[in-house]
């Protein structure tokens, strides 16, 4: 298969020394195996991730995404924009749709963009990394590259909010999207059936501002994974990953639970199943170590 190229929007949390740098590393490993070339959008900026609305009004927030799309149009014509981050993907895709839907907002956005020497056409396909895997490769092609199947590992596919609503992946239902379960099966693992909290919210950015209320939500997400017999949770979103992984000690202290549930990215699972070592699969980025994956990676 010929090399596939995409205009890549990594997002703030995938920067060096940021909270999902491990995600980026495993995505890069995975993409190398799939012969995918990710061309980073030069000089991209933050999308404001559904939370900048206090200081930022509608137009200022929309032009953030407009700038990224305009940069992609200029530097990577003909390439779809792809982001591994749920919030970046949603924000970019939705901003483009809203601008295309409203001529006067579009005109204003272009007036603002001119200040940065840019212009927006607004005809890019904006996609999540998971869509590239499922739509441009497909489960069979992804499965063909598995060298070390994830045998005997039971995994809860936590889809969460923003890779699910409002756009969805691969036309699946909002209530019970199956793509993570199918990916787990493709890699030889066992998905948790009827994972109760599959599409529940982890609190998103409010995990910072409303920690107690968010941790109550996170507790249910983890508990329901344990109830389904999960060894670990997999997610397609950096906010979900961080929220569900790093507060487990605080939740344990508060609720008298004994959680120690690894939470990994699909790209980590794929990298391990494709035969990579712990480092290239970014297993060293786990705050709660995924020992079963480490064992497979060391084999």
């Amino acid at each position: 298969m010929a090399k596939k190229e995409y205009s890549f929007y990594p997002g703030c949390s995938s920067q060096k020394g940021a909270s999902s740098i491990n995600y980026l590393r495993s995505v890069e490993t995975m993409c190398e195996d799939l012969d995918v070339q990710l061309n980073t959008i030069p000089d991209w900026n933050c999308c404001s991730a559904s939370i900048g609305y206090n200081g930022g009004g509608e137009l200022p927030r929309l032009v953030l995404s407009a700038r990224n799309i305009a940069l992609s149009e200029k530097n990577h014509p003909g390439q779809d924009i792809v982001s591994p981050c749920a919030a970046c993907w949603l924000g970019t895709r939705e901003s483009q749709e809203r601008l295309n839907h409203n001529d006067s907002l579009m005109a204003e956005a272009n007036t603002a963009l001119k200040e940065a020497g840019l212009e927006l056409e607004g005809k890019k396909d904006v996609r999540h990394m998971v869509e590239v895997l499922i739509e441009d490769f497909g489960y069979d092609a992804l499965g063909a590259k598995v060298k070390k199947p994830l045998n005997d590992i039971k995994i809860a596919g936590y889809v969460g909010c923003q890779t699910n609503r409002p756009f969805g992946i691969d036309g699946e239902s909002f209530e019970n999207p199956k793509y993570l379960d199918k990916l787990i099966e493709t890699l030889g693992g066992e998905p948790v059936e009827n994972y109760d909290k599959k599409v529940s919210c982890c609190g998103g950015a409010l995990a910072f501002s409303e920690p107690d209320k968010s941790q109550a939500l996170i507790k249910d997400i983890i508990e329901s994974a344990y109830d389904g017999g999960a060894d670990m949770i997999v997610t397609p979103c950096p906010v979900c990953q961080m929220n569900v992984e790093v507060y487990q000690d605080q939740i344990n202290a508060k609720y008298n639970t004994k959680f120690k549930m690894p939470v990994v990215y699909y790209s980590t699972l794929i990298s391990v199943a494709y035969g990579h070592n712990a480092k290239d699969s970014a297993l060293d980025g786990q705050v709660i170590r995924a020992k079963q994956l480490e064992e497979i990676a060391a084999k």
Partner: protein, 203 residues
Amino acid sequence: MSNTAMVEKYRSNFLKEVAENVEEGEWVRMCMQCGVCSGSCPMGPHWEHPPQELFMMIRANKREEVLSSSSMWMCTSCYNCIARCPRELPITHIMHGLAHYAKRLGLAPKENPTNKFSQRFWDNLTKTGRVNELKLGLSLYFMNGFVEGIKTALKMKDVGMGMLKTGRMNPLEILGGHGVKDKSGFQAMLKKAQELEAARVDK
């Protein structure tokens, strides 16, 4: 425009004020009060007034009560409501829009933590074009004052150590860190967008 000017301008037609000034506010007219959205918010029990109720209050001219409410600051942007609303209202955006409008008029609850966090997030990202997680985190710990800040920082110490050890946090970010190269273009663009928006609201 100031709060009093807006009160003056719209008299007792808050629905019109919302439709003309709040992001996606014109959609409020389309609400049929079915209540589906209110049952969808993950932090539902903590909302003083869930979305459907806010929409009813807007129609009933409960201006102060709506704009000073902490409700819309409880929105997690989960998009449950948008996926379910039979009238396809962009409820998430209306919540963000109401929050922003309340803030703009000086009516937002000042001590609401999401109000504070959201402003810090915006300030953080607009300074360099990209979010600096370390500075954002620190400013967040200290947003309730110095003593509270130390307490929060201590409580969060283990989380921070976990991130540090796994290379997911970089203490050197405090010295500056990531940002766009074309900072002047980026900031000029935002300034222009803010001017255009202010002109539209003031009309």
